[in-house]
Subunit: 211 residues, 2 copies
């Protein structure tokens, strides 16, 4: 086995620790970078650092934002502030935006409840969510957590919390009337019936719509 | 479509220009890097630059080496200097080393002859190869160019040049006796006959060996 130059071996090892990049792809990448112009590689190295240093959570919703400013959705005055979509991670918000059609704002929980893995309500941005709903007079909350057991449990927990907001024990707090919705469950676009799993077909049949 | 923070979009665009990384994988990588420790990202950025700046061609054979020194194969005193394997690129030498079993040294041409693409003999490290063969009293040259039309043409051209070395027109130069060999052509390991292409089967049958 040919010993590669040590700095190249080091780079290949670092690259192969990234998701979706195996040892073979890391080697191909490392060798390809050798053939790039120096200023191009410099720009990539700078971009890596700039990204890691300057991208963080939006102070309002928790989506990705730059330099601690509001994210693009929160800063967009044409978004409907009364419609709030609750997601587990910023990546979920990005995925929903890619689908298009949602004109409200987002709230990133930072994960899903999972008592087994030690994720409790205080570990998620739930208090901030309830405060936001009060402050922004939200009219509808779309619970867009994953269709996984943890996601479902989180949605159920949030529903209880939101219902408690509607009937506050503290008589001084005004009750809130928030519509609580959940993403539709059914067949994915382009799906074939004979390849769909039983739970999906069950949901699709149960929530069938008029045509 | 959610506008990502500009520094993140920039990084994703740069990543997706790398070989084997599509827009989707670049996005996944960019987002994964946000979750890494700052010092880890810093180390990756440093490794990228160090690699590009310090890795170059071995001054003797053209394989990859660091800081202008001899490569690992040329620096290895246990390699048989009388056996020289001629490859198109440093990547080919790495691939052959991975196969193992070759105890000689390499010579990287820097490509294959291709008159249509304007690659002529003077663009390749052919003069250096001939000089090396004289200086190092090479006894066998393995022509390990690719099994492609350009690679075959390059091997044929090199064979003529090597034969000319054996019968120099200049009577003052001593003739050299160099064995010229070529990589075997046949079925790849693990191949199934019914999936092999016609040219491969033809070669495999033509160059059949005693068993």
């Amino acid at each position: 086995m040919l010993a590669l130059p040590p700095v190249l071996s080091d780079l290949i090892q670092r690259l192969s620790s990234l998701p979706g990049i195996g040892p073979k792809a890391a080697e191909r990448l490392g060798l390809a970078l050798l053939r790039r112009d120096l200023h191009e590689v410099q720009a990539l190295a700078d971009a890596l650092l700039a990204c890691r240093e300057r991208v963080g959570d939006c102070p309002r919703c928790g989506c990705l934002s730059q330099d601690g400013e509001l994210c693009a959705v929160c800063a967009d005055g044409f978004r409907d502030g009364r419609l709030l979509c609750v997601v587990e991670t910023a990546l979920d918000a990005i995925a929903l935006e890619r689908g298009g059609g949602f004109k409200g704002r987002y709230h990133v929980l930072g994960g899903a409840l999972s008592p087994l893995r030690g994720v409790l309500p205080e570990d998620l941005r739930i208090a901030q969510l309830l405060a936001r709903i009060r402050e922004e007079s939200t009219q509808e909350v779309v619970l867009a957590t994953n269709a996984s057991p943890d996601g479902e449990a989180t949605a159920l927990y949030l529903k209880q919390e939101l219902l408690a907001l509607a009937q506050p024990e503290d008589a001084l707090q005004a009750p809130l009337f928030v519509r609580i919705t959940r993403l539709a469950r059914g067949l994915p676009s382009g799906a074939q019936l004979d390849y769909a799993d039983a739970a999906t077909l069950h949901s699709a049949l149960e929530h069938r719509t008029d045509f």
